[in-house]
Amino acid sequence: MNTKSNNSEGQEQFLHELEFQLESNAEADSVALSGDTLRSKIIYLFSGTVILAAWWLVYENLLTFSRFLTYHILQLSEGTHFGATVEFFIFEVPKVLLLLTLIVFFVGIIRSYFTPERTRRILAGNRESVGHVLAGALGVVTPFCSCSAVPLFMGFLTAGVPLGVTFSFLVSAPMVNEVALVLLFGLFGWKVAGLYTATGLFIALVTGVIIGRLHMERYLEDWVLELTADKSRTGQISMEEDDLSWKERIQFGIDAVKDIVLKVWPYVTIGIAVGAGIHGFVPENFLAGIMGKEAWWAVPVAVLIGVPMYSNAAGVIPVVQALLSKGAAFGTVLAFMMAVIAISTPEAIILRKVLKPRLIAVFIGVVTIGIILVGYLFNMVL
């Protein structure tokens, strides 16, 4: 913080302190606030508050709105099956999208503090045990497609991050993220969202620890080993450190919303349409026999089908909805979802350029077993 405003009373001071804390939490250096006048700050703060209030107002009144639209404007009669389906759809789609927008915006801002450079420094500069936990947590706030996680994984290795820790990151990055969290929360409640996140992180940690213990460094491709050994490169890699002003960080959040929400909304809409539509039109327990809790083999089969498939969290949501509403067990479906997101054939192909087959096999094996166990766990507790 390098601006000390003349006006150092109450709220303004508090804001400065708050920002200061945020900055130092992210071990930020001084942020260029010099260009931002106090006035523009107040304008931003004011419009931010207004937007938040508007968001809240819309969110709170969605149910009323969806009922009004369904039964008064569309003139569907209350109590009919079709009416209920339409009401559900009109309520759920904006609800999930609103949640998504809000969370993605804030995660975008948080993300602006974790440049790859800083992330690598955090991971390289800690003890291995701490590293696993940090890597898993950082996986949550870093990009969610496994295709961009692999180059990053390589960057971590080059920076001297232990192999196991990088694997914790590699597992957590695509699987545990804000989009999965919001979708699960919006559609199935906080319990499912929480359980998914916690077990996802757990699998990431365990995978990392196991691979670390097995000391599999020699199963990295030779050129990667050379790159890792060549310490002279480490410094050269760094792009100029991003010292963003808070305006730029807000822009970062807005960009994240544009990027992610625009990409994800069709899946969300389809997912909810499937959930709304199928609900009563397909026999409730259509899948219960083959994917219900009684079928002990359902979890491994679902996971084995899911592993080679490639999609992000949003893409599987329609499938998850469809399976669930046809009577499949929760654990089976969530394990399927995890398997689809966590590993995929394209990812394995990219990884093959960096890892030797044996290490890939261990990686996929450990993650698969982890997900299967989580599937059984979900089936037991939900």
Binding site: C147, S148, P151, V224
Partner: protein
């Protein structure tokens, strides 16, 4: 001038490639735009965030799609 776009299959990588090609064409810049998918090359450039833009062997940006004006500046330098 040799312009390389580094990226493996992510949506942003395609977008950057298209953007760069468009800029090159619109301003009739004498540049060859190549999409690099070999992750080994990423390592050589020290690029670990995709997409990345490399102009004549120099990494200009990594991990995001830069603004059109920025790209133009790098390409016309």
């Amino acid at each position: 001038m040799k312009v390389e776009v580094l990226g493996v299959g992510c949506a942003k990588c395609h977008k950057l490639e298209e953007l760069v090609k468009e800029i090159v064409q619109k301003n009739s810049i004498d540049a060859e735009v190549i999409k690099v998918e070999d992750i080994k090359v990423f390592g050589q450039y020290g690029v670990f965030m995709t997409p990345a833009l490399v102009v004549d062997g120099q990494v200009k940006v990594a991990g995001k799609i830069p603004k059109e004006a920025e790209i133009l500046k790098w390409l016309s330098a």
